[in-house]
């Protein structure tokens, strides 16, 4: 469970203080499928970064899986990210000199997993996202959709409870974007919580819960009725 209460995130830009997040209260349960929408500068990405422990709130309390993580140091945050959270980015963030397999196993390398075990797991995950024939391709030999699927594989390899996706289809054509969304939805059905930041209403509407942000405040929180 992700529980935010009274979260503020302020930046100082020149002489001005920008309230990127303004007193946000939010709870996201296990296995939810949430879209976060809003105009540019509304604080969507900041919210996602705070939820993903990449950014610390200026004030307020954030409890992740029951533990207060608002004021942890860099390394403790890294440890929590490693254990609980997978990231998917608009620009994939694959390491260009590494093959698809090596990119996917990277989190396991950092975690100190033995080579044989991590290779098997990475290969299995790539197979599950339909890239069985692409294990030894480098990112520049893959299409955009394939790259994003490698990135999804990397996000999954540590078996996180939450997948945080920032405009995951923003750099893809409609068909590849659709494939990526289908994979994410399939993962969600398997029990992983998926949070998507997007501009695109067609993508955002697919979620089961819709958050709307404006000026750092949550101005809409609509759940689809349970079938």
């Amino acid at each position: 469970m992700m529980e935010l209460s009274g979260i503020c995130r302020e930046y100082v830009v020149g002489a001005e203080i920008v309230h990127a997040l303004d007193n946000v209260d939010l709870t996201i349960g296990e296995g939810e499928y949430v879209s976060i929408m809003g105009p540019s500068g509304s604080g969507k990405s900041t919210l996602l970064n705070v939820l993903g422990l990449l950014d610390r709130p200026t004030s307020g309390t954030y409890r992740l899986q029951g533990e207060d993580v608002s004021h942890l140091d860099d390394d403790s945050l890294a440890a929590h990210r490693q254990r609980h959270i997978g990231f998917i980015f608009q620009f994939f963030h694959l390491i260009p000199r590494l093959t698809a397999l090596e990119n996917v196993e990277l989190p396991l390398v950092l975690a100190g997993e033995a080579p044989r075990a991590r290779r098997e797991r990475a290969a299995a995950i790539l197979e599950s996202v339909g890239l069985r024939a692409r294990l030894d391709h480098r990112p520049d030999q893959l299409s955009g959709g394939e790259r994003q699927r490698v990135a999804i594989g990397r996000a999954l390899i540590m078996q996180p409870s939450y997948l945080l996706a920032d405009e995951p289809t923003g750099n893809l054509d409609t068909r590849s974007g659709n494939e990526v969304m289908q994979i994410l939805e399939q993962l969600n059905r398997g029990g992983i919580a998926v949070l998507i930041v997007t501009h695109d209403p067609a993508i955002g509407d697919r979620a089961k819960r819709h958050l709307k942000l404006r000026d750092g405040k949550i101005v809409g929180d609509v759940r689809e009725p349970q079938p």
């Binding site: 990449l54 890294a78 620009f91």
Partner: protein
Amino acid sequence: MKARDVARMSLQALRRYPLRTAMMLLAIAIGVAAVVLLTAVGEGARRYVTGQFSSLGTELLIVLPGRADTAGGGIQGLLVGETARELTLDDTIAIMRSPRIRRVTPLVLGAGTASSGARERDITVLGTGAAMLEIQHWIMETGRFLPEGELDTAQPVCVLGFTVARELFPGQSPLGEWLRLGDARCRVLGVLSEQGLAGGFNVDETVITPVANAQQIFNTSAVFRILVEANDRDAVTAARRDILEIIKLRHAGEEDITVVTQDALVSTFDSIFNMITAGLAAIAAISLVVAGVLIMNVMLVAVSQRTGEIGLLKAVGARNGQILALFLTEAACLSLLGACFGIAFGAGGIWLMKILFPVLDFAAPLWASASAVGVAVASGLVFGILPARRAAALDPVNALMKR
């Protein structure tokens, strides 16, 4: 994260920018090669010089007038015009009384001209005794060396150095011929075989004559040096003490001579050349520090080029220490690889120098090569710290915004 994975990732990163990596490797390699080559030159010179002196024999003692530590009576001596007491032929004969001494010969040296018929040549006149042949391990080409006999008898005979004989008597045997030596004439007894340089003195261009004869030519009663050969190497110290005592008795209780042993001479040159070699190594090591600064530069560029990558690593759980280790390892790999190439270049350079200058025995001392590699790696690490810390301290959100 396993050490092997850290090394593998660092090498992968280096491979991605082959030109830049090659340039860095070259910079470090040149630094290390400079240390290796310069110390090899110093070592070659040291071996050459000590070899030259050692060839004179380690049982050799050289007696010279005046004390090395209070030469000429110091400042006071200069003011009152006091000079060191000269060594004489009688001193030489007196030294022979020591039982620890096998051979003694005096030395009188001077520049002169030698002529035979119309041919004339500048030569060095060396006045000495019969024992000189054995002391210096000279070998006769033809004829015989100076005759045994009283040192103070001025026999008009001489022995020619190899070059002198060839130039003054071309195509004929000089044996029994008369040689004009300044105003004197002397009969040629023999010719030395080619000796080359020994102790910085070219024997091939000398004419050797009995010491009393040389003293007449230069109108002096003094002896320039006395060469003494001890019974064996272990007797050198005792022989030295004997010589000092004998001469002290003869010089009214004054210890006014210096006795230099071959060992002391060689070890003096040895330490001088070792200092020079160390100095050369230090100068060359500066280039390694420069290479270190280049490493820092390159690593700083690498950190800013790979900002997005660092952000990603942090997002997937990399600790700050792991990022630090990755970049430090990259710097260390660069400098270590560069150092290996440098050692190889240095070895190639030494091989080339040996071909070009076969006289000198070039060889880089092990300590120089080892410390060159050490300094290279250390400067890579030291100068890698700043970029690596910068990478580790990056804020993941900002880092991820750069692609």
